[in-house]
Amino acid sequence: MERNEVLIVGGGLVGQTLANRLSRDGYDVTLVEKNPDRVREVGETLDIHIFEGNGATAPVLRNAGIENVGLVVAATESDASNVVVGFLASHVFNTPRVVVRVHDAGHEEGFTKACQDRPVEGVCVNPDTASVERIASLLEVPGAVDVMRFVEGNVFVAGFRISEASDFAGLQVSDMKLLFASTPTLAVAIQRGTDWIVPGGTEQIHAGDLVYFAIARHELADVLALVGAPPERQGRIMVAGATSIGLALAKRLEERDERVVMIEEDSAAAQAAASQLDHVLVIEGRPTDQSLLEDEEIEQVSAFVALTDDHESNLVSGLLARRLGAGRSIVLVDNPAMVSMVGDIGIDAIISPRLLTISETIQHIRGGGVRSGAALLGEEVEIIEVDAAKDCRLTSAPLMDVGLPRGVLIAALQRGDKLLLPKGGDQVIAGDRLLIVSMNQLSSKLNEFLEP
């Protein structure tokens, strides 16, 4: 990026995490926040410029230096404020790139359309849409704690907890090349305890590791067999919470002809949900009510998805459902402390809209080269999908001579309709679609290889 200055409006969890990430990546970050307590809190923890004021007003943005920045991110908790920030940046200050967080599809449409004729790039990141997308992917892969799709859906990246009984326990990462010769099916990241590793070939996989595999789509069933994932259970999907995410998920599942039951505590919300959904049974009640779950034959449920606005209650109902025999529990949790402990307590997968928002925002920050995606694993490992630019350092020599640092892995290369795992002797050429996994702290270094 020519201009390295970034302005973030909104110092909540998303704004703070982004500010931290970007300043670590070498960007010059200014954060605008109107709440003085929060300004103080952020000032104590992050080494960035902080500007106190309402970012949805032109003078505040001007004083915070918006005229010099290459990118504005509107990440307050209010859709309306974010859209105003977005409009001011894109239409008044002509900021080259603007990313706006909105939950409401109407705001999303308005802002996106308003930017179409402007010489600026304006995009929306919708945490609800991102969450539904992630849950839908998870439901396709039994046993996974996390699932993302890349390269037009041809490569899954899925995380699995490896048990002693798994065929992967005790293997070296390079052994996967024996099992899946020449296809991009490979372990690309490992979480061991609190440490994250982007593994080299000689890294050994241990029982207890959380291993993220890149998986060529046609080899998904093979990997599941080796992981020892439980066979996919046929049965209803239970969605707790008629929230915007809950409703969007139910609609999505309805289109796929899944049988869905929704539980909503609030009577009016339950009725509203029932009127919007044709084939979903909506039940009024508390998701944490054991007898209700039993009455609804929770033991026959293939997946229980807790999406209410009360995240602690989501954890409780998720655990309860699992204990009562649900095949799988997927739970919406956004508190970072809860996110990190979830693996230890028996929830199968968590959805954090905050993390998803950050992932998507970073994807846009990476600019035009990044295609379908970027994702973060536990805020430590980054996965990006990118088209190799003409005359970038990565295309200058065979991979083994390019000098990529340890901790950066090219997990897949698509050239035309050929998808492969690049070897050291292969040379990337401009236009190749690449899936790259790297440790976060290497992302600015990685940029040196990707920029023309």
Partner: protein
Amino acid sequence: MRIMDILVRDAVILDVASTTKDGVLEEMARALASAVPSIEPDRLMEVLVEREALQSTGIGEGVAIPHGKLPGLDGLVAGFARCRDGLDFDSIDGQPTELFFLLVVPEHAGGRQHLKALARISRFCRNGEFRKKLSEAVDLEGILTAIADEDGKF
């Protein structure tokens, strides 16, 4: 799946005569073919060489797991061979290869058994104790005991 259940005892070669990659493949293919009548040795050799051309099955630490699919086979079969001095098998770590497991699977068996057997043998061989036992075995019984012990672990 236990490796002992698929290992063909007459296809265990304590010390190979060959000193080359193709030589050891040939020796193992012949030994397995004479014990399993439905295997045609030249065809097996072709399949193995084809697979090696894709990428060497020398997984490093002195181990190789050549493998392939053949029509007309009833089930998975495995052989073993040892070359005490080690030989050049284009192994991924560039080191000489001493221990060889040969795995042959029916062509239409579907990939899973094949993969599970390959993964299991790889897992065994990532254990240094196991490799040591195979290297130091003085007779066929020593080899079989080492494999049976490992089979009993998981």
